[in-house]
Amino acid sequence: MVRTAEAPAASAPVEGRPSVLRRVWWSDHLAGWAFISPTVVLIGLFGLVPVVWAFVLSFQQNDLISPGKWVGLANYKKLLHDPLFANSVRNTIVYTAVFVPVSVIGALLVAAALNRRVRGITFYRLAVFIPVVTSTVATATMFSWLLDPDFGLVNAALSKVGIASQGFFRDPHEALMSIVLMTVWGWLGFGVIIYLAALQSVPADLLEAAAIDGCSRWRAFWRVEVPLLAPATLFLVIWLTINALQLFDEIFVTTKGGPVGATTVVVYYLYQQAFQYFNGGYASAIAYVLFLAILVVTVVQLTAGRRLSHAER
């Protein structure tokens, strides 16, 4: 269960009068359910029901159109021995392990830089946000041109500095990192906007106090502001992890899982199984293994986040 650290302070009355306690508890209860009812109904219907349905599908051999036949755990057993699946898991883990930290730290630093009243700050903020608006197709086309091994600008620039031509999307050892580069660039503005909003809640008097105490700006930033951004950081880490583990669009419009399977990630493999090979049941089984992994990772992150914020206090 997820409990919030602040809740006890907010709802406990000053003196322990039993009837007030019970009244507060009931009103919390009713208010709570009243507040979340529309959400629960809508997301339950359009979010949860399809998820359960697809779970049922994973126990069938099914091409998504005609009714399937029940095969029990056969799809899951097949997964254990599938070297292509193992490859996709490896790629997904490597991608996520690089993408998330780089994105979070990058967004934090850029947001801090954009959180000031310098002339033209609106232009800079817009510039950082534009890649988020740009469609995946346009971004992918741009990057495959920039990173073209023969004619791309990046290799041209590298050769001027004396570095050899890189293969980027064409090289099995560099393709995944090229995707990381492309997605970090594309998601930076998202993290920046989250942090920018969160930075507005940081009390200025705390920072003034730190400055008066002789703290440098840099130390004040890391010791005072960043811990206060913990809820935003937790959100970003969890959200980016969930998305990184489900990476698909960028692979689909650039490398299509290649070269030689170097960028085949779990959801791309799932897509091939469902929509190219027509193994709908197998695809669902893959989705559920992924789901379990994401669930475990998210719970770990939420728990760690809570522990850290408790430690702060």
Partner: protein
């Protein structure tokens, strides 16, 4: 004691530079430009390419490495409106986005606040179930979701794009985190003064949620505006097409009119950019940051 919320929000200056806390502030260009300008140029490179392509002729766009056009073809921007029902796509997408954004602002705030601040039985489970819906790839739940939407008779209507998105788990999660970051003392003060839960929410908390609501609006709008796969399978008729679906009519599997597509894409991004510009003005410190005096 005056309620902090009744005092109008004051723009608090961002942190003074270290040097300035010692002496009077001098007017000089900030050193931050040295960092922000190169960063911005890097981020804007694809946009620059899109603009260059949009004002080129088709033949010029079919060359590599790309070259600057010999003359500017503004006609591409006009052609988008005359050769395709661009206006129709714009209206459809705007309607869907506006309704979805408004509904999310309301429902996600309510739910996010409840998960952040209220203690009630089942809240933990409900929150995890909500998050769980984010953990299954859309390709897998595509067809079940389509069947549910069909049972409501919404296939080939804009309602198919609106109803499933009236609340998003993403929005609820994000708002919960923002609420958690608010100092609880403000709400305690309100409760001391005898306000109900709803009153505290409306009178004290909501005015502080400017940046969060702006962020939610921008990101929700963006996700609806850029959505392709769901409209692809839920919409049949051309008159109900939304923006991304419409843009795909410029992109053939072999033949793509790149200048036309880029002109259309650029124009399609304007509403999101305008919303961002409006919303980012909220990214200034609010009364919460000045603490309780």
């Amino acid at each position: 004691m005056a309620h902090p919320a009744l005092v109008p929000p004051v723009l608090v200056d961002p942190l003074p530079e270290y040097e300035d806390s010692v002496g009077p502030r001098r007017r000089r260009p900030s050193a931050w430009h040295l960092l922000l300008l190169p960063l911005s140029l890097v981020m804007l490179t694809p946009l620059a390419w899109m603009v260059v392509t949009a004002v080129s002729t088709v033949q010029e766009s079919r060359q590599f490495p790309p070259r600057l056009p010999s003359s500017i073809q503004w006609s591409n921007f006009v052609a988008v409106w005359t050769t395709a029902p661009f206006g129709r796509w714009l209206i459809n997408t705007a309607v869907v986005s506006a309704i979805v954004v408004a509904s999310n602002l309301v429902f996600c705030s309510l739910a996010g606040y409840a998960f952040a601040r209220l203690r009630f039985r089942g809240s933990g489970l409900a929150f995890m179930l909500l998050l769980a819906t984010l953990m299954v790839p859309f390709q897998v739940v595509l067809i079940p979701t389509l069947l549910i939407v069909k049972s409501f008779g919404l296939i080939d209507h804009l309602g198919a794009l609106i109803v499933p998105n009236l609340v998003t788990a993403f929005g609820v999660f994000m708002m919960r985190q923002f609420f958690l970051a608010l100092p609880p003392e403000l709400e305690e003060a309100g409760r001391m003064d005898g306000a109900s839960r709803a009153g505290v929410f409306l009178k004290i908390v909501t005015p502080l949620m400017g940046p969060a609501l702006a962020t939610l609006a921008i990101l929700t709008f963006l996700s609806i505006w850029n959505d392709f796969l769901w409209p692809l399978v839920a919409i049949q008729s051309p008159e109900n097409m939304t923006m991304q679906l419409g843009l795909s009519t410029f992109q053939g599997s072999h033949l793509t009119d790149w200048p036309l597509l880029m002109a259309a894409t650029l124009m399609s991004q304007l509403p999101v950019i305008l919303l961002f510009l409006a919303g980012q003005r909220m990214f200034v410190r609010s009364i919460a940051s000045s603490g309780i005096k």
